[in-house]
Structure formats: C-alpha cells, structure tokens
C-alpha cells in the first residue's frame, strides 16, 4: 500500500533508512568492555544514525488525512519505535521493562489511531497491565544488589542487529509490494459478505453492521470458535501444570528436609 502511493524514488530512501537503523542499533547495543574501537563517540554516532533512520522513515511514509491525525500517528509510532529500541539497548532490566511498556503503549496508540479500538485497549490490558507487571515484579525482586554481568552486555550485538535489520527490510518491502487489491487466493472476505453469510437473523445482522465490536465478537465466536476454545483450554492446562509443578517442588523439598 505504501509503495503504490509513493513515487518510486523513495525505495532507495527506505533502504538507506533500514541500513542506517541497523548500524545505529549495532552501535547502541551494550558491548563488552575492550571491544570498543570507537570509544565514547560510539553512543553519539549511534544516536545520530538512529535519528536519521527515523526521519527517513517518517518522510517516506504515506500521509494520513488531517494534520491532527498525522501528528498523533507520528508521535505514537515514534514512541513505539524508540521504546522498542531502548528496550534492547538499556542495561538495567527494570528500565528495559519500562521501555517495553512504553513501546506497547505506542503500539496501542497506533491501533487506536487506525480505528482498531478493541485491539488497542486489549494490548494495554493484557501485555502492559498483566504480563509486564509480573515481569517487573520478578525483576525488582531478583537483583537487589546491582546488575548481573549478563545484563550489562549484549551477547551477539552484530548478529542481533543484522537479524533485526533483515526483518525490518523484509517487512518494509513486503508491505510495500502489496498492491491495492490482493490476489484472489488471499482476499479477505469483506465485512458485508461475512455478515451476509453468517447464519443470523435480520435483526442481528443490523446490530452487527452498527457495532464493529459486536462484529468482532461474532467473528471470534462464530467462525473461529474452535480456535478460541482451544486457546482457552491450552491456557487452563498450562495453569494446572504450573500449579502441579510448584506443589510437587514443595513436596520434594519438604521430603528432602525431612530425610536429612
């Protein structure tokens, strides 16, 4: 979609943005002491390259409708990208978790701007509100006396940066290649078709057409019912398994103490 609306001249710009982003990530990733051939200029150079990459991406992207939409979109996507990069670059695990939460908030903002309200808010509830709080909990309890060595350096900064760059390049080109109308094999059925083919009464169809959230619910618990139920069952089994592992550990410890 992006490429269809862009002049062809932006492809080199996108490639340059991806490359400079990759190099910036490699420069910014925490390295083991001794491997520093750039010295203290490393961080500054990485920052400059990163800002250049962001600017190129923002300039090459497709413009949204109004000025307000555009500004909000740019801000939330900037928050998402910077948060994501800072998550891997920061040395302190607690700060990494906070940056990750910020990245999630940015992603949720992007989803809200694009009109996917349920998905946006669910991202915050599930990831930022539940999972990441548990992470923070463990991180804060785990290292009261400073950082462990494995937190201070990145193991494979070069390979990690290259992998990230390749992923970014692939996604950019594949999204850019998508034309306005995808091939027939992969057409997503339109909402009108989904409502028309779903076995519901006329009143229900009207209600569905009015409320996108109700339509999402109908999709999930109609067409994808089996997948939803299977996912629920899987989570339940995982929960029971976790409790079983914990209580067996306690029993084993008690037996060991009793025997000694």
């Amino acid at each position: 979609m992006i490429a269809a609306l862009l002049p062809t001249g932006t492809t080199p710009l996108l490639a340059a943005a991806v490359a400079s982003g990759t190099v910036s990530l490699w420069l910014l990733l925490p390295q083991a002491p001794g491997s520093d051939w750039l010295g203290h200029r490393r961080g500054a150079l990485g920052l400059v390259l990163g800002v250049a990459a962001l600017a190129a991406l923002a300039w090459a992207g497709r413009r949204l409708g109004g000025l307000g939409d555009e500004a909000v979109f740019q801000i939330v996507s900037l928050v998402a990208i910077v948060g994501g990069a800072a998550t891997v670059v920061t040395r302190s695990p607690v700060y990494s978790a906070i940056w990750f939460a910020l990245a999630l908030a940015g992603v949720a903002g992007v989803l809200l701007v694009l009109g996917a309200q349920f998905l946006g808010v669910a991202t915050i509830v599930v990831y930022a509100g539940a999972i990441l709080v548990m992470f923070l909990f463990v991180l804060m309890l785990a290292q009261p006396s400073g950082l462990a060595p494995y937190d201070r350096v990145s193991n494979e900064p070069l390979l990690a940066a290259i992998a990230g760059g390749v992923l970014l390049a692939l996604l950019t080109t594949s999204i850019g290649r998508l034309s306005a109308d995808p091939p027939a094999c992969c057409t997503i059925p339109s909402r009108a078709d989904a409502v028309a083919t779903a076995p519901v009464g006329p009143a229900a169809a009207d209600a569905l057409a009015a409320d996108p959230l109700a339509r999402l619910g109908r999709e999930l618990f109609g067409r994808h019912l089996l997948a939803v139920e299977a996912a629920g069952l899987l989570l339940l089994v995982a929960l029971v398994g976790a409790i079983a592992v914990v209580s067996r550990g306690e029993v084993a410890e008690a037996t060991r103490k009793g025997a000694s």
């Binding site: 109004g66 000025l67 307000g68 607690v94 906070i98 939460a101 309200q117 349920f118 808010v121 669910a122 915050i124 509830v125 930022a128 509100g129 539940a130 709080v133 548990m134 923070l136 909990f137 804060m140 309890l141 409320d211 996108p212 959230l213 306690e250 029993v251 410890e253 008690a254 037996t255 103490k257 009793g258």
Partner: protein
C-alpha cells in the same frame, strides 16, 4: 473546514475535559474535608471547623480548610533523598496521576444536553469526553491497570524497604482484585450488550431494573473488588501506617506526595462512578428522570444532579466503611480474592449468561412480566446459594495458626518425629 482551526467536536471535547478536571480536583479537595468531618463524627470529635475566608474572622464551618491544606502541602519542602533512582522517582507520581485522570475520558458524568444546534457538532451532546470510544469499560480497566506502574515504580525507585514492601503488596493486591472486578464488569456488559458506559446506563433506565437488583452477586463482588482496587480500608495494606510508615510513598514529600494522594482519591471517585453507573442505574431514578433519549434543560440538570447525588452517597459509604472495619491480613486478602470472590464472580457470570440466553424463550412462555420475575429470581437464588456455600467452605479468616498444606510431609513435623525417635 480550515485544517488549522479545531473542529467544534474538538472544542466540545476540550470544554468537557476542562470542566471534568476542574470539577474532579475541586471535588477531591472537598471530599478530603468531608472525610475528615466523617472521621470526626464517627470518633465523636468536632473535626476541622475553623478555617473560613482568609484574613477575616468568618469561619463558614471550616469550608476554607481544603485551601489551607493544599497550600500547606504544596509549599512544603520538596525533598529528594540521595539514594533514590531519580528518573523513576520523579516519573511515578506523574504516571499514576495521568492514568487516574485519563480514565475519565470514558466515564460519563451525566446524560445528554438538549439539542444545541451548533453546526458541525452532532446533537445531542453527551456528558462524556470520548463519545466515539466503543470500548469504554475496557478503557477504564486498561488505565486502572496502568496505575499499578505508578505504585510499583514509586516503591522501587524510593530504594526504601518500607516503600518497596508497600509497592509489592499494592501491585499484588491490585493484580489479584482485577480478576473479580473484571468478572463483575462482564456480567453487566453481558446483560447490557455494550461496552459503552452510557449505553449501560440507558439499558438500566429503559428496563427500570438496576443491575444491583438484577445481579446481586455481581454487585457484591464488584463492590468488594473496587474497595480493594481503590486501596481503601479494609484493603489499605499498601500504606498500612502502623507497619510500613507510609507504604510506597514513604520517601515522597511536598507536591509529589500530593500527586500520589490525589491519585488515590481519584481512584475512589472512579470506583464510586463505576458502581453507580454500572449497578445503581446511573442518572436514572424511577418516576423522576424518565428514560427518553432527548431531554429538556431541566431534565438534563436533574439527571446530572441525581448521578452526582448517588456518587456522593457511595463515597460517603466508602468513608463510613473506613471507620467501621479493621484491616485484613495479607493472606486473608489473597484468600478472599482467589477463594471467595473469584468463584462467586464466575457463578454470577454463568447465571447472567443463562438468564440472557433463555430470556426470549421465557418471554415467549410466560409473557414479559413473568419472564422479568424469573430473570430476577434466578440471580437472587444464586446469590443466597453462593453466600451460604462461600460461608461454609472458605477457610476461617480469623485463624492465626500457620497453615499446614502438606500434612504428613510437613517438614517441621517429620523433623520433630525424627528427634523423638533419636
């Protein structure tokens, strides 16, 4: 429309935000005074009654007290201890206050205005900052889970063991009680068929049956869980003064402490709003407000007044509970959440689902009023059954002996046996 000038919708939203933030902050200041009055009344004291209009001798029952309190705490020295993590220490109070205020984007504070006829502004104007948000209930839920970060980070960044313990207790409590809170919400959402809070109020006004009467079990679960989410007594373990000095805000002073305290008060106000909107009919009162979508100016004012009065009533209830109940112990708190509130919430949800599923069938068989009575009788039956079962099966909350989960394998016991044998 000029792209630079904001549209009437934006201006309306800004006006609503201004009114809401101003109203909430004033309300929070005066609710502190109300809380002190109620505390004094419960303890048979006089309470603050001296501060009136500044520089005069007019006392006005102490109505100037919030101004004096506010000035005092703002002008206090804002001291930052040297051992804190500065960035997070400064960010935590801002985060928690921002999250607590942003919640109100999705909470209606009245019904609708009568048609104004302003071009570009769709009539009628709702008393709601973000009327386009379809997932209002989830928004409230998401931002109240963000508020956990403020508490957790404030406790951790303080680098103080009391603060950290308070932060840990608080986040564990908030995460645990989010689940019964969500189950209570789900019952209402299922019955109303919408995630928008204004639609939930409309549904109660149309049927005339508030969800507190239609789902008594859900109401109790939600009420208890919202007490815990607001960290009010009997759930105020995060800042138990006798044990933790001040909990997660032990190291804070001056205006940053004020931000934390205001955020806590806003949590209570949010909880009161949600209880009234979701279970006590919102702006609806039988025979007074009606349930029409269009209202006159008088009707809009009456609805606003009724909603505010109900919210004030719930807040007074919150404050009276504070002086009537002792604090829970931490294991009692967790037992209540996981072993009592969670099953009760699930029972309520299943009952509501069954009632809503078979309502058309009931209406067909029994007529609409008969179906209404059956739809009320089933949840009330479940309420009493659930109450009795929970009372019989749950572990005694006052038992102070250590819990032996593994009976014969218990380490101390087998050690004692070994010693006896030796």
């Amino acid at each position: 429309m000029n792209a630079v000038l904001p549209s009437p919708t934006t201006i309306a939203a800004l006006v609503k935000i201004g009114l809401l933030v101003g109203g909430l902050m004033t309300a929070a200041a005066y609710l502190v005074l109300l809380e002190r009055w109620i505390a004094a009344w419960v303890q048979d004291r006089k309470g603050p009654n001296r501060v009136g209009i500044p520089l005069t001798n007019i006392r006005l029952f102490g109505l100037g007290q919030p101004l004096a309190d506010g000035l005092k705490i703002i002008l206090k020295e804002d001291f930052t201890p040297s051992h804190v993590d500065r960035v997070l220490y400064n960010a935590a109070p801002l985060l928690i206050l921002a999250a607590s205020l942003a919640i109100f984007a999705a909470i209606p504070f009245g019904s609708v205005l009568p048609p104004l006829g302003i071009p570009g502004l769709p009539d009628p104007v709702p008393f709601l900052v973000a009327p386009g948000l379809d997932v209002g209930v989830l928004w409230v839920f998401a931002l109240s889970s963000i508020a956990v970060y403020g508490v957790l980070l404030g406790g951790w960044a303080s680098n103080n063991k009391y603060g950290f313990l308070g932060g840990l207790r608080s986040s564990a409590q908030l995460v645990a009680y989010e689940i019964p809170l969500g189950l209570g919400l789900l019952g209402v959402v299922l019955a109303a068929g919408s995630l928008k809070l204004d639609r939930i109020m409309e549904a109660q006004a149309t049927s005339g049956v508030w969800y507190a009467f239609a789902q008594p079990l859900g109401f109790i679960v939600f009420l208890v869980a919202s007490f815990a989410e607001a960290a009010r007594l009997p759930f105020d373990l995060p800042e138990a003064e006798q044990e933790l000095v001040g909990g997660y805000h032990t190291e804070y002073s001056g205006i940053r402490l004020l931000l934390f305290l205001v955020a806590e008060f806003l949590h209570m106000i949010t909880a009161a709003f949600l209880i009234v909107i979701m279970f006590l009919g919102g702006w609806h009162l039988w025979g007074v407000t009606g349930s029409a979508a269009e209202v006159s100016w008088a009707g809009a004012l009456v609805r606003f007044a009724i909603l505010s009065a109900k919210i004030l009533g719930v807040i007074v209830f919150f404050m009276l509970v504070r002086w009537s109940w002792p604090r829970f112990r931490f294991d009692q708190l967790m037992n209540l959440a996981w072993k009592v509130m969670l099953p009760l919430g699930l029972a309520n949800l299943v009952t509501v689902a069954v009632v809503e599923e078979y309502r058309p069938w009931l209406v067909e068989r029994l007529g609409s009023s008969g179906a209404g009575w059956v739809a009320l009788a089933l949840p009330w039956g479940m309420f009493f059954v659930g109450w009795i079962v929970a009372g019989l099966l749950t572990p005694s909350g006052t038992d102070n002996r250590p819990i032996h989960t593994h009976g014969p394998l218990d380490a101390e016991q087998s050690l004692a046996e070994d010693l006896v044998e030796a």
